[in-house]
């Protein structure tokens, strides 16, 4: 018996992980390139706690309980407290955790790249996001025109901007209003609209219905729409951004509404993030964005599933 055949599972793990060597190397290079970009732009890299007492009460996001609180679903509340304390431009790459999210594009433990800029709006973040991805691609030695799953993505820019309303008119079988009335917004989005987005160039899908942006500012000239956008590349949703809501009273009312809706669906009630709400009174106008680092690694390595860009999936632990 050869020593290798003694431990078949160790052998197969060795083979599996060695196949991912290229994408894991790419991740490491991406981290470096992202840091370089934000340093050049005058951003400060920050770290905030992963174990937190109270996640933001958002209807469809479930936190994983831990002793002493919850694992963060995003670093948003603590990064905004830093903004309120006068840190004007900050970024972070960190692990986030969401219960029950597992699929070709989802891991319950994943990596977010999140950044905030004071005295900025969501349009400024669009430009910056575009510049960041272009800079990282360049550092990695990628061409301006890349392919993801056989679909062309021209990173050259300026990237396409489409409002949610326009996207439903263009690609949906129902209008935006009808889809919301019938409770089919998410289904239409996934089945009819998303496949069209992000090719032959990345797409910013902008101006979401106000009810779908618990932490975003509403448009000054149209309160039915929030200043929120999502970035798509090759049909994959990559990032979510807002002009941040800075009104503590309005934020408290929105959280109460989300908490109520969570209760109606039998979802866990989280303690209210009171210190965040207090800090919000001091937060300047700002915009921020959360980008799925693993998904960007998928796009850059042309990987079909998120499994291929991490060393271990939950099933392999």
């Amino acid at each position: 018996m050869s020593p290798g055949s003694k431990n078949k599972s160790a052998e197969s793990e060795r083979e599996r992980i060695s196949h991912r060597k290229q994408t894991l190397r790419l991740r490491a290079l991406m981290v470096q390139a992202i840091r370089d970009f934000f340093m050049r732009q005058g951003y400060l890299e920050v770290e905030t706690p992963i174990l937190i007492p109270a996640p933001a009460p958002e209807l469809h996001i479930d936190a994983i309980p831990a002793k002493g609180g919850y694992l963060q679903t995003s670093p948003e509340l603590y990064m905004k407290r830093l903004l309120a304390a006068g840190y004007e431009r900050i970024f972070q790459m960190c692990r986030c955790f969401r219960q029950g999210e597992r699929g070709d594009l989802h891991l319950p433990e994943f990596t977010i790249l999140e950044w905030y800029s004071s005295h900025a709006g969501y349009r400024d973040i669009m430009f910056e996001c575009e510049a960041m991805i272009q800079a990282v691609a360049k550092d990695l030695g990628l061409p301006e025109k890349i392919q993801y799953r056989g679909r062309a993505i021209d990173l050259g820019g300026p990237w396409e901007r489409v409002t949610v309303h326009e996207a439903f008119e263009r690609y949906g079988t129902l209008s935006l209003e009808k889809s919301m009335e019938k409770g089919r917004f998410d289904v239409c989005m996934v089945e009819e609209i998303e496949p069209h987005l992000g090719s032959p160039e990345p797409t910013f899908l902008c101006d979401y219905p106000a009810s779908m942006a618990a932490l975003a500012r509403l448009k000054p000239d149209n309160a039915r729409v929030a200043e929120r956008f999502e970035l798509y590349m090759g049909g994959v949703e990559l990032a979510n951004a807002f002009t941040e809501l800075t009104d503590p009273a309005e934020q408290r009312a929105r959280f109460q509404e989300e908490k109520k809706r969570r209760g109606e669906q039998g979802r866990e009630a989280y303690p209210f993030p009171e210190k965040f709400l207090e800090a919000l009174a001091l937060m300047p106008e700002a915009a921020g964005i959360a980008l799925g680092f693993d998904r960007l690694a998928m796009i850059f390595s042309d990987s079909a599933t998120i499994d291929q860009v991490v060393a271990f999936t939950p099933e392999e632990l």
Partner: protein, 200 residues
């Protein structure tokens, strides 16, 4: 009164959308379905969606459906029973339960290619949906007698050569030249291919 209590407990247990996965069997509109393809998706800040491709386990018809997290699903009441093949008549295949000697029938359609391997007294698993037989699982290997095989002239043989033969069930396949009429061979029922000659 064990039966009804068992059924009742089954009726109470439901799957949640988060239980959905490839291979899960659920009941929809009175028919059993198996999930043959499954995809989790969740648009940004939106609800979790569970895209399924489902196959009707009785007629094989497939359809796509997207479920939301609030939906629940009834497990399909499926059970495999060990049975013995008795005989085929008028396009029907008769099997006998080896515990209670009850007989049940499957149609030619339901048996499909499994008929290539059905010899008297062969032990198989019959799949029941409630009280209704809907499918058959064969043992992986079955021994069958060769009823027709042309002789092979020695010396003509080239490595990798095969010749056609007919088995007792009427199934035709290709085997190595040294297999003779009247001999028994083992066939892999998953591939339909020759495995070895059976030494009597």
């Amino acid at each position: 009164m064990q039966g009804p209590i068992k059924d009742l407990s089954r009726g109470n247990h439901m799957y949640n959308a988060s239980d959905l996965r490839r291979g899960l069997k659920i009941e929809i509109d009175g028919d059993p379905y198996i999930i043959v393809d499954f995809q989790f998706s969740k648009p940004g800040k939106g609800q979790a969606l569970y895209k399924c491709k489902l196959k009707n386990m009785i007629n094989g018809v497939m359809f796509d459906q997207t479920y939301r997290s609030v939906e629940t699903f009834k497990p399909a009441n499926l059970e495999e029973r060990k049975m013995q093949f008795l005989y085929a008549q008028d396009n029907e295949f008769c099997f006998m339960d080896m515990e209670n000697y009850e007989q049940t029938f499957l149609s030619e359609e339901q048996v499909g290619d499994a008929s290539h391997y059905l010899i008297d007294n062969l032990e198989v698993e019959i799949l029941f949906f409630g009280e209704r037989a809907i499918g058959i699982t064969l043992p992986n290997f079955v021994d069958l007698t060769v009823t027709q095989a042309d002789p092979w002239a020695k010396g003509d043989s080239v490595a990798g050569d095969t010749k056609p033969i007919t088995l007792e069930t009427g199934y035709n396949l290709r085997v190595p030249p040294f297999v003779n009429e009247g001999e028994k061979i083992t066939v892999d029922t998953r591939t339909g291919e020759y495995v070895t000659r059976v030494k009597e």
